[in-house]
């Protein structure tokens, strides 16, 4: 499921998908694991705390906006690298933003769901 979520993320820009959906999918993946084993196992798999992931996502998203400010244009102007790697969408600031959204949604979902699981 995790692979699928990353697939969704990458797909986002050109076909149905995107950061938000990818994040939800990834969250669902971890919750499934938590159901199967227990919350501790899932958290270990995740390696970082949900809150930190969420915060990092927000930070990434905001940084992608500040790139524009630093380089003299407006806030959130889009920049793209000229490389074209197959399978991955055009690398650039919207993609960075999307990754940020992905991380944020993943962290958010886990943060909301996992504490409830623990009460068993």
């Amino acid at each position: 499921m995790l692979l699928f979520s990353v697939f969704l993320l990458f797909r986002g820009h050109n076909l149905p998908g995107g950061g938000f959906i990818g994040g939800l999918m990834a969250g669902a993946a971890f919750i499934l694991d938590a159901f199967a084993h227990n919350v501790a196992h899932s958290l270990k798999l995740l390696r970082f705390e949900p809150v930190k992931i969420m915060a990092t996502g927000l930070l990434l998203a905001v940084i992608s906006g500040f790139l524009g400010l630093i380089l003299g244009d407006g806030f959130f102007k889009g920049y793209w690298l000229d490389i074209d790697i197959p399978l991955i969408p055009k690398l650039g600031s919207p993609f960075l933003f999307d990754i940020g959204v992905y991380a944020l949604v993943l962290g958010m979902v886990l943060k909301m769901v996992l504490p409830n699981l623990e009460n068993d």
């Binding site: 959906i21 959130f76 889009g78 919207p94 933003f97 958010m108 943060k111 009460n119």
Partner: protein
């Protein structure tokens, strides 16, 4: 120049770091900043460059937002004592705050204040002035409340903040009105619109708003009560903010806006009357005070009243007098405040009556400095205060309106000032308690007040040195002002005789007060005191807030939902039916069998949800609804939406299931009335939304947006999925806001869950 101001702010944020490195020497290190600024300003002044100088950085031209700086005589004048006195205050504070707690925080906020004040007097775009204005309010709040463990400090800080913030709101309103009337956002260009503004119908509201803003900041009646309480701040703060700089911000505004809003009868009456009342109240209350800081606070209020009145009268002489008095006051008041702090440290008390007897023998240096400053305060020759006072007396004598009234007020105030002179010198240093002791402190603390006191004397003896500067400043306030020369001796004119008279009466008042203990019984007026009104409003607001929260925030989700939905139903429904009416375009409604079946499934599932008595079944049928809806989205050609909806639905149901086992197994049985009511609201809202949608799509949507996105999403944004491109690129700011909300919601949910977890007793 803009860099100058910004660098102060950057310095401020570095302070805690510097504090760790330098410890007690921090203040001396920091004092280099204001010194540099002072020297820079001095260079500008002496080099004879063409004034005024302006500089601006554009921020957002659509909203006329720019960071603009305008250096003319008036701002130069203020800049000099913000930086000059600032420099001396840092040195004073270095000795005064030695070994005190939280110095890092203190100096950081003090530096922030200095930056804000500089920004305020140098700013040209009035939107930026407002930002700096509010910054000074906030830093003042933090500084007054520095000793945050004391209740009195917290109360005073709040009072100061709320009163000046209220003024800030009024000021905002006034400035916005000016912007609307003149469409001009730079102050330097506003004076051209003087005619337009003063003849406009909105003139009086504008004047009132701006005036209230300035009155609150400069502690004029009836907004004066926060200043004496602000004395809870550490003395360096009182000496800097609440005598020499921040409270003069309102006066600066009156000066700045004189050529823009001034010269009318309303201006004259408003400022002069408030100024006059304030002068008298301040002077009398100062004379009655025993606490030396409160005495100085009240006399500051009085002095500010004098300045307000001067700018109210607005003649050439008045403006000049006001400008000169600003300088004189800054010099002697900061000295006196610094000395108050020193005396407090030496004797351990702030109350004059508790000072050691014959203090002048024990602290001769202190006595000397206080004498110098107090003599300037009372306007005795050959001090600079005398030069100022003569000008003020001439101003009131030659006032075009109500000269007699002003002369009387001025005279009475001067009388009390002279009496206060004696209080500060005679009463403080000769009378007192027999058994009080004098502590010993580092003598370095005297450096700063000695300088300011001596300056008062030097400028008194050679006032011509300041002629150029004050004339320059006055010419910015009163167009067509001819250069005046400051002189110590103006001849045996009326002003001189009045001056002598005030000295004699003042001395008389003082010595009589020593023998006779007069108590004026005005206690019947006590409930109407402005400070009591503030207290009523403050407490009342809290009580109201608590009541309102009890009523509306009941804690039950169904109550919130009910209130929200019924308001939507009533307001939107009413407007819709009243203004628009139902329009259904029956032609374009093609219904496919597929959709009908899906719709039926949804209805069945909903029915099951509502009427089943088991929670789990309700949830399961709800998830059926969710799946059906996402299929509808899919079929309508919105795959992103369908996937998103489906995933959210699945996750929501998951969360519900997890929480489920904490709820009772059977659902609540509601009263029939409640069921009907809730059903009505729910069905009604749904029906309303449907009807609105139908009416909206009555005419086919003809949107250029679709074409724009279709064309540009690949070429400009390099993506073929328009939806995602819109989310992540074209409308990325919206998405940013949304994910912030998500983050906060997650934190909130987490906090709630944790809260109940910790409360659970098992």
């Amino acid at each position: 120049m803009i860099i100058c101001i910004l660098s102060v702010f950057i310095l401020a944020f570095l302070v805690p770091l510097l504090h760790k490195m330098t410890g007690n020497k921090l203040a001396f290190l920091l004092s280099i900043a204001p010194l540099t600024i002072f020297i820079a300003l001095l260079c500008y002044y002496l080099s004879g460059t063409d004034f005024p100088i302006s500089e601006s950085w554009e921020w957002n031209s659509y909203f006329n937002l720019e960071l603009a700086v305008y250096l003319d005589g008036l701002s130069l004048l203020f800049g000099f004592f913000i930086s000059g006195i600032g420099f001396l205050i840092y040195i004073y504070a270095g000795f005064y705050m030695k070994d005190a707690k939280y110095n890092g925080r203190f100096f950081m906020i003090l530096t922030l204040f200095m930056g804000a004040m500089l920004g305020l007097v140098l700013a040209d775009n009035w939107l930026s002035i407002l930002v700096f204005w509010e910054l000074t309010s906030i830093t003042s709040f933090l500084l007054i409340g520095h000793n945050n463990e004391k209740e009195s400090a917290r109360y005073a800080a709040w009072q100061g903040l709320l009163v000046t913030a209220l003024g800030g709101l009024a000021l905002l309103a006034g400035l916005v009105l000016i912007g609307i009337v003149t469409d001009q956002y730079t102050i330097s260009n506003l004076s051209q619109h003087h005619e337009l503004l003063t003849q406009h119908t909105l003139y009086l509201p504008i004047l009132l708003c701006v005036a209230v803003g300035a009155f609150t900041k400069s502690a004029q009646f009836p907004f004066h009560f926060w200043l004496p309480n602000a004395m809870a701040a550490p003395t360096p703060v009182s000496a800097y903010l609440h005598s020499a700089t921040m409270v003069k911000a309102g006066i600066y505004f009156f000066a700045r806006f004189s050529p823009i809003l001034g010269g009318t009868v309303e201006w004259h009456i408003l400022l002069s009357s408030i100024g006059g009342i304030t002068m008298l109240i301040g002077a009398v209350m100062a004379f009655k005070s025993d606490n030396i800081k409160k005495l100085l606070a009240y006399s500051t209020i009085s002095a500010l009243g004098i300045m307000t009145m001067a700018f109210g009268i607005g003649t050439e002489t008045a403006v000049f007098a006001g400008t000169v008095y600003i300088i004189a006051h800054a010099l002697y008041k900061s000295t006196l405040f610094m000395m108050a702090g020193i005396l407090d440290k030496e004797t351990g008390t702030k109350n004059i009556s508790k000072f050691p007897i014959m203090l002048y023998q024990k602290l001769p240096l202190a006595f000397g400095i206080v004498c110098l400053a107090a003599l300037s305060f009372a306007g005795i020759a050959p001090f600079f205060g005398f030069v100022a006072k003569e000008l003020l007396l001439e101003m009131v004598l030659h006032s075009p309106m109500l000269a007699a009234v002003y002369v009387t007020i001025m005279l009475v105030t001067s009388v009390f000032f002279v009496a206060i002179l004696f209080v500060l010198t005679h009463k403080a240093f000769t009378k007192g308690k027999l058994d009080s002791q004098v502590k010993s402190i580092h003598k370095g603390i005297y450096i700063a007040p000695v300088i300011t006191a001596l300056l008062g004397l030097i400028f008194g003896l050679f006032p011509d040195a300041l002629s150029n500067l004050t004339s320059l400043a006055s010419s910015n306030i009163f167009s067509g002002f001819e250069s005046e020369h400051l002189a110590l001796w103006h001849g045996f004119n009326n002003a001189f005789y009045l001056s002598l008279l005030s000295i004699l009466i003042g001395a008389g008042v003082y010595f009589i007060s020593l023998k006779v203990n007069w108590k004026l019984n005005l206690s019947f007026l006590k409930p109407f005191q402005p400070s009591k009104i503030y207290d009523y409003l403050f407490d009342g607001l809290i009580v109201f807030g608590q009541w309102q929260t009890r009523k509306i925030q009941t804690g039950y989700l169904r109550n919130y939902a009910m209130v929200t939905l019924s308001v939507i139903l009533i307001l939107t429904g009413f407007t819709f039916f009243y203004k628009a009416g139902i329009r259904i375009n029956t032609e374009s409604l093609d219904i496919y069998i597929f959709e009908l079946i899906l719709g039926l499934i949804v209805l069945l599932a909903l029915g099951f949800t509502l009427f089943t008595s088991s929670n789990i079944s309700a949830l399961l049928s709800l998830s059926v609804v969710g799946i059906a809806i996402s299929i509808i989205f899919m079929e309508a050609g919105a795959p992103d939406l369908a996937i998103t909806f489906f995933l959210i639905d699945a996750l929501t149901i998951t969360i519900f299931v997890l929480i489920l086992h904490k709820l009772p197994k059977k659902m609540l049985r509601k009263r029939n009335f409640d069921r009907f009511r809730d059903g009505f609201i729910a069905v009604g809202t749904g029906l309303l939304v449907t009807l609105i949608l139908f009416s909206l799509t009555y005419n086919p949507l003809n949107s250029k947006l679709k074409e724009f996105y279709a064309e540009n999403s690949y070429s400009a944004a390099k993506g073929k999925n328009m939806v995602n491109v819109i989310l992540v690129d074209f409308r990325v700011l919206d998405t940013l806001g949304e994910i912030c909300v998500l983050a906060i919601a997650a934190l909130g949910v987490f906090a709630l869950v944790n809260y109940t977890k910790n409360k659970k007793i098992d």
